[in-house]
């Protein structure tokens, strides 16, 4: 993975020193809260319901054991012993003190981490495929480009005061695990006619109040032009994006209101002027960064893994875990191991400092020290010898990290909601925990198969409810928590936005409704259809009738 050189280190250290000064000036009253707010947001520090919240960037969801240990240490020393992994592959601490935040940032800088631009109207963390560098179906490691984008977008002088936040995602595979179609810019890596690497460029995807799927504005962008093209898009957005209404300020609205064709024309016109400027990437720099992402020294292994096969035969729990949490690796004899952070009855996506330390140790022992964070709020050990899976499983199980539910119904994506977040209208976590408790039984989960439930506590959709097979949105209805259900959303390469089922439900009704929807699906499914397949075949009507009764 990428290692900072002197320039990267200096940049982050300068930022820590700068923020320390800004905090001092705020604490002394020299800066008012109004002046300080944008500064603290540019360093990922929010003021939430109970305390501050610090969002640490985990660039493209990749970190090593040393960094994970530091995150554990910070949770222990400066917070309340846990952290929350987010739908943008970042980590949130819920209880930092403002006066200690410069120290926290200093600790992070020691291990090449920071909280720069994890908030504010600027370019945020560029996210990617959690299986990058390990997946069989990958064209090239997308993280090379994510790192290139990260540097270009960090403290960009022209794009730090955009109309609104800006999110970029990159996939290196046709199987989109990075939800690129619901990002402000989505980049799909592909090969050109001569086999050269390039990108399909999508613009204007996004969730929130007005969800949109991204529009393809360029079918093939050669790799050396990536930054100049991004700059053309950002400049166009910076100049014409709406600034009169916060809810119409994202680029998805700009593209919608301008028209995709006209927007494309503006971008291409701007790009023509800058494509051969200093932004054109020199091959040496691309190679320099690519060199950080060469695969680790995989051992030459056989594909068969006798210890694992034996254990699968004798231990159904282990077999389930392999079936759901383990993914095929591109190197023979290796496997990708998902670590579920969705235990039954506990807040999804959280990890204690002890669990983080354990994952760091396991990364060192099993996965070349490397860890990933997924946008579904789980962790990954990307390079595990398949024959060592039983060992790994036992260590994870002892720490509550081996729930065999990745991709299943209880692998819920869920925002912090009204339990933590000042923006929320309703709680989301208790809905998730109730659902996991109702569907705790492994056999039932297996029977249901792939199912993506996504829960948001407000219209901002940090829980991605628009792209859940079942999406749940919490609202405030006359002072009571109330939940709207949508069906048929998907964040993959076949992306679709969910459709509202009908009138909403109270908190204690939601679990029963989910149960009903699952039963209807199981009744109607044909062959090995997953929930989303059945839904797309039969439409919403049977589900609507089953839930509300025939019209």
């Amino acid at each position: 993975m990428y290692r900072y050189d002197e320039y990267d280190h200096a940049l982050v250290q300068d930022r820590v020193a700068q923020f320390r000064r800004q905090v001092e000036r705020r604490m002394s009253g020299e800066l008012t809260e109004e002046q300080f707010r944008p500064l603290r947001l540019m360093n990922g520090l929010y003021l939430q319901l109970h305390a501050y919240m610090l969002r640490v960037a985990i660039p493209y969801g990749t970190l090593d054991s040393r960094q994970m240990r530091k995150l554990a240490y910070i949770a222990r020393r400066y917070d309340k012993g846990y952290g929350h992994f987010t739908t943008r592959q970042n980590l949130q601490y819920n209880w930092p003190k403002l006066e200690e935040t410069p120290d926290i940032l200093g600790e992070l800088a020691e291990v090449e981490m920071h909280a720069i631009q994890t908030s504010g109207n600027c370019i945020r963390n560029t996210t990617s495929d959690q299986f990058a560098g390990a997946a069989k179906d990958e064209i090239e490691d997308p993280r090379i480009w994510c790192e290139i984008i990260r540097q270009w977008s960090t403290l960009h002088p022209e794009f730090s005061y955009l109309p609104r936040k800006f999110k970029i995602a990159v996939t290196g595979s046709e199987n989109d695990r990075a939800a690129v179609k619901v990002h402000d810019i989505g980049l799909i890596m592909k090969r050109g006619e001569g086999g050269e690497v390039g990108f399909e460029v999508l613009v204007g995807g996004g969730l929130g109040r007005t969800p949109f799927l991204g529009k393809s504005i360029r079918d093939f962008l050669p790799e050396e032009h990536l930054l100049s093209y991004l700059e053309a898009i950002l400049r166009t957005y910076n100049l014409i994006g709406r600034r009169d209404n916060k809810y119409k300020a994202r680029i998805k609205v700009t593209v919608h209101e301008t028209g995709a064709e006209e927007f494309t024309r503006l971008v291409e016109e701007e790009w023509a002027s800058i494509k051969d400027s200093a932004l054109k990437l020199p091959k040496e720099e691309i190679d320099r960064i690519a060199a950080h992402f060469v695969p680790p020294d995989f051992r030459a292994l056989d594909s068969d893994a006798p210890a694992t096969v034996d254990r699968e035969g004798s231990d159904p729990a282990f077999a389930s875990w392999v079936r759901h949490n383990v993914v095929e690796h591109k190197a023979p004899g290796y496997a990708i191991a998902n670590i579920s952070l969705k235990p039954i009855g506990l807040p999804p996506g959280d990890a204690t400092d002890e669990q983080m330390d354990l994952v760091a140790d396991l990364a060192d022992e099993f996965s070349f020290g490397e860890i990933r964070v997924t946008h579904a709020q789980n962790l990954v050990l990307p390079h595990v010898e398949r024959d060592r899976l039983p060992e790994l499983y036992d260590r994870l199980a002892a720490a509550g990290l081996a729930t065999a539910n990745v991709g299943l119904l209880s692998d819920i994506i869920c925002c912090p909601g009204l339990d933590y977040c000042a923006l929320a209208n309703a709680r989301s976590i208790p809905i998730a925990t109730q659902i996991t408790e109702r569907f705790a039984e492994q056999q039932r989960l297996d029977e249901i198969g792939n199912m993506q439930i996504k829960i948001s506590g407000c219209i901002n959709a940090c829980g991605h409810h628009h792209v859940g097979h079942i999406g749940i949105l919490g609202v405030d209805r006359k002072g009571e928590e109330h939940y709207q259900i949508q069906l048929g959303g998907s964040a993959s390469e076949d992306a679709s936005l969910g459709k509202i089922l009908g009138r909403g439900f109270s908190a204690d009704q939601v679990v029963d409704i989910v149960d009903k929807l699952v039963s209807i699906y199981l009744d109607l499914r044909e062959g090995d259809e997953e929930f989303i397949d059945t839904y797309r075949r039969v439409g919403q009507q049977p589900f609507k009738e089953g839930v509300y009764g025939a019209a």
Partner: protein
């Protein structure tokens, strides 16, 4: 409707309540709702809020003060809106955290 002033402490973001508005507008802040000064009517509430806002500027101890409705239930003060109840207690899914935790400094 009874009201109290709620705010966030600048240094650590913890929820605080306006406790006492003494002479010359001197204001104290408390961590517990029980210690909050209760305004029995809108006029008093507006007074308290003005004092809180002035204090926020002059001492920089708190940010974002605002008024919330409270009522008495079983001899205890409780906000009427559940959002504010959550602010006064802590996360509902982690009873070991926030003000609700026994012995909590918050």
């Amino acid at each position: 409707m009874k009201q109290v002033v709620i705010a966030s402490r600048l240094s650590d973001g913890l929820v605080v309540f306006l406790k006492q508005a003494g002479q010359a507008g001197a204001v104290e802040w408390a961590l517990r709702l029980e210690s909050a000064e209760v305004a029995e009517n809108d006029a008093r509430a507006a007074e308290l809020l003005a004092l809180a806002e002035a204090d926020a500027v002059s001492t920089q101890i708190v940010v974002d003060p605002y008024l919330i409705d409270v009522e008495e239930q079983d001899g205890q003060l409780r906000p009427t809106k559940y959002r504010e109840v959550i602010r006064c207690l802590g996360p509902t899914i982690r009873l070991d955290l926030g003000k609700q935790a026994e012995g909590s400094e918050a």
